[in-house]
Amino acid sequence: MPAGGSAPTASKEIDAVLSTENEKGHVRFIICGSVDDGKSTLLGRLLHDSRTVFEDQLSAAQAESPTYGTRGDAVDLALLVDGLQAEREQGITIDVAHRYFETDSRRFIAIDAPGHEQYTRNMVTGASTAELAIVLIDARKGLLTQTRRHSYIVSLMGIRQVVLAVNKMDLVGYDRSVFRSIVAAYKAFANELGIESVTAIPLSALTGVNVFESGEDTPWYLGPTLMEVLDTCKLPGNEVAGGFRLPVQWVNRPNSEFRGLSGTVVSGSVERGMTVAVSPSGSRSTVDRILGPSGDLDQAVEGQAITLVLADEIDISRGDMISDNGQPPALADQFAAHLIWLDTDAMLPERPYLARFASASAVAQITDLTHRIDMDTLGRLAAKTLQLNEVGYCKISLDRPVPFDAYAMNRRTGAFVLIDRFTNATVGAGVISFALRRATNIVWQKMKVDKAERARVNQQKPCVLWMTGLSGAGKSTIADRLEQKLQAMGKRTYLLDGDNVRHGLNRDLGFTDRDRVENIRRVAEVAKLMVDAGLIVVVSFISPFRSERSMARALLQEGEFVEIFVDTPLEICEARDPKGLYAKARSGELANFTGIDSPYEPPQSPELRIDTTELSADEAAVAVVRLLLSLE
């Protein structure tokens, strides 16, 4: 054979085998349940019995079994799946594993989820793409908190097909009554969750009973084996009856002759000549060409990555959604959603996060946390924040309108993730219930006298001089000197001081992270109104978090926000301790004190940094005035 050439084509017989191979359906399922219910063992069993495990992999598991296994010297099938060293050492599953096997009729992507509560976020990762869930229960233990928690997440993630696998039946003597009572208890819970179809199977992952083969041990069970269920469950693509949706991923513009809109069809189908609508612009056009992975198509369906060419030159970019003209998605900047929190830092209402939708991104704030959900009892609890792995129902407000659908209608366009703008961590994931249209009914009043006019009368460039720094750094003293100097220059000013504002506008707020965020949000909004009024506003607030300072900056126009870092080392602030607060914080009398038990995140690139170990308060004020004059 020539170098670089391809191999000769197959004979007709092999061709026939290959074509049925290629027509096989493809199912993603997740195995979930509590710790030690046998999830990894079940997956190991599925891989082993489907002859997917190779001899060298089996002998590696065999060799590790006496050291890490839980079966004495016998081979521990879980070791085939627990791929991380830390998992094998501890005998637990930390993160999801994706494994692949096939039967004569289907291909499977099996997702093994960790059972521990602390790793729930990894289970959520696996559940988000699954079409079917196997919920495993240890027959000796029955329903556990984690069984209910995982089942709740399965329903939240919109998985409609659930298999209840009552495992370790060998350890209860294949007792029918044990099986029946677990099934009854689970079905009652599933019913509350709105999971309609549950197929229950008594099995043993260890012995393989009712996994591939129905054994003689459960003569009373006449239902299907686990593999029979997997081989006949509904395939993806069947249930999405929704309209055509193509979130635009990338604009393909290789030359002036071609302008294509690339993306994956997430629901419905599109044909040449069809009229489509574009959101958010609302413009319409017809489909001129559809380029599929292997060239031009007349029609593209759900799941296909395509490039569309439209008949008209309309402005479309990444983040837009192309849809059925008759069934466009919702377009709104506020919506209600269930949110699951995935980060060790708690969710803070009003903090700006980056939200990623099917293709659009926006800055999002949780404006209202309606309640938290107790996943064990399904009760609704009052809550001010969400901790790691907690789920809440909330209202979310965006900085721009974004196209989306309700998650119940469309799993692709109804989902979003939240990303922390500073750590870049994926901190939350949400499923949208419905759009809120409150904001659209309040129309901005256009006034004749505007900011520019007020600034002209005041003969100054209005702005915010935002001083941040530790308690005792010298902010208030410098701010006071600064305002005196500005007044002497004939400037119209106002000073917003942290302690003073907390006596009035913000007296309902404490010092938790959540309240600190709200404290800064209110002050930033007040400062913005004052800038609008044409004033130079001096803000003197500890304002410890980068995220909120950047929110304040974003509220104002370019050049209106001047960040001044009053930089005094903690030891010096503590030595000064003008109000005796550090002493109280050290003795534990005062909680959540910045620098002691609450973090201070120094600015990374402030417009001005004042080193108070070098400059006096008066010199510092002069430095700010100089900066202000240079900006005017």
């Binding site: 799946v81 991380l84 060293q85 999801v96 369906v301």
Partner: protein
């Protein structure tokens, strides 16, 4: 309705477009193997009718099979690809190689170190790789968009949650993301797709009579004169092929008569050994692949 390969194909294309749209300076790691050939083929589809919006990077350990280098250069020339070839010059000057230094040191210096050098030198913020989850058990645990610190380290115990296909593409300067568009493909899928799409691959994947010697339980092909022979040892001419390709002294051949893609697939269906069994670097320490990956290996 789409079949299995169509779904995998579209998923991979989606992932590649996401990279092109979101990153400042992406690159595709090209290792010349069958997975790289499939990845390159998918990339052409993802960006057609335009050309590739990113360069290819080959980290050359200088110990690859000669057939691989020939194939690489032909492929690059045929498609007019912007191909960056990087060699760890420092390692080369110190004479680091698999025969003298063993697999662990060679891989560390000539592959992992070399890769990091190339990534730092060009400031790439996203690196597409052809690794698949079915290859190895620590790879089965990895995300599609897998975050790397500014020192290229992977922290398997705290990976970013990755829901739906909403990938988190945010990195700070110096950090990067390794992206695996073939995450959900199996070895058999790759061969079926190569067959269906008629994708050229290195001839070493097909059986031919090749000069081999046995080294530590591996059938090693004598690809050039750098492989030292025992006194009196002569290479045996054997009918063999390779399931994966790496540095030739570290890659075991398998006795095989499978000379066509259908025969290769038929052989895979019968096989009781995993694809990477013939790779020395996977077995030179406990949790080998995971440790190498943490340090920055692909």
């Amino acid at each position: 309705m789409l079949n299995h390969l169509d779904r995998l194909e579209s998923e991979s294309i989606h992932i590649m477009r996401e990279v092109a749209a979101e990153f400042r300076n992406p690159v595709m790691l090209y290792s010349i193997g069958k997975d790289s050939s499939v990845m390159l083929h998918l990339a052409f589809k993802a960006f057609a009718p335009g050309s590739l919006p990113l360069p290819l990077l080959h980290v050359d350990t200088t110990w690859k099979f000669r057939d691989m280098i020939r194939f690489r250069d032909e492929t690059a020339a045929r498609h007019g690809i912007n191909l960056i070839v990087h060699v760890n010059r420092d390692g080369l000057e110190r004479g680091v190689g698999p025969v003298t230094h063993g697999s662990r040191v060679h891989t560390e210096v000539m592959k992992t170190e070399a890769l990091k050098q190339a990534l730092d030198m060009h400031g790439f913020d996203a690196v597409l790789g052809g690794a698949r989850r079915d290859e190895e058990k620590s790879r089965a645990k990895e995300r599609v968009f897998s975050f790397r610190s500014s020192t290229h380290r992977w922290d398997p115990k705290s990976q970013r949650p990755e829901l739906w296909n909403l990938y988190n593409t945010r990195v700070s300067p110096g950090e990067s993301v390794r992206v695996f568009p073939l995450s959900n493909w199996t070895e058999l899928d790759v061969w079926q797709y190569i067959e269906r799409e008629d994708i050229p691959v290195v001839p070493l994947y097909f059986a031919a009579v090749r000069p081999t010697v046995e080294r530590g339980g591996l059938l090693v092909m004598v690809d050039d004169e750098r492989l030292p022979l025992e006194p009196g040892e002569t290479p045996r001419e054997m009918l063999v092929r390779f399931r994966t390709l790496g540095c030739y002294p570290l890659t075991g051949a398998v006795p095989s008569s499978a000379a066509t893609i259908p025969e290769v697939m038929a052989e895979l269906r019968q096989s009781r050994a995993s694809e990477r069994e013939g790779r020395v670097i996977d077995h030179d320490q406990l949790g080998s692949m995971e440790k190498k990956k943490q340090e920055g290996y692909f």
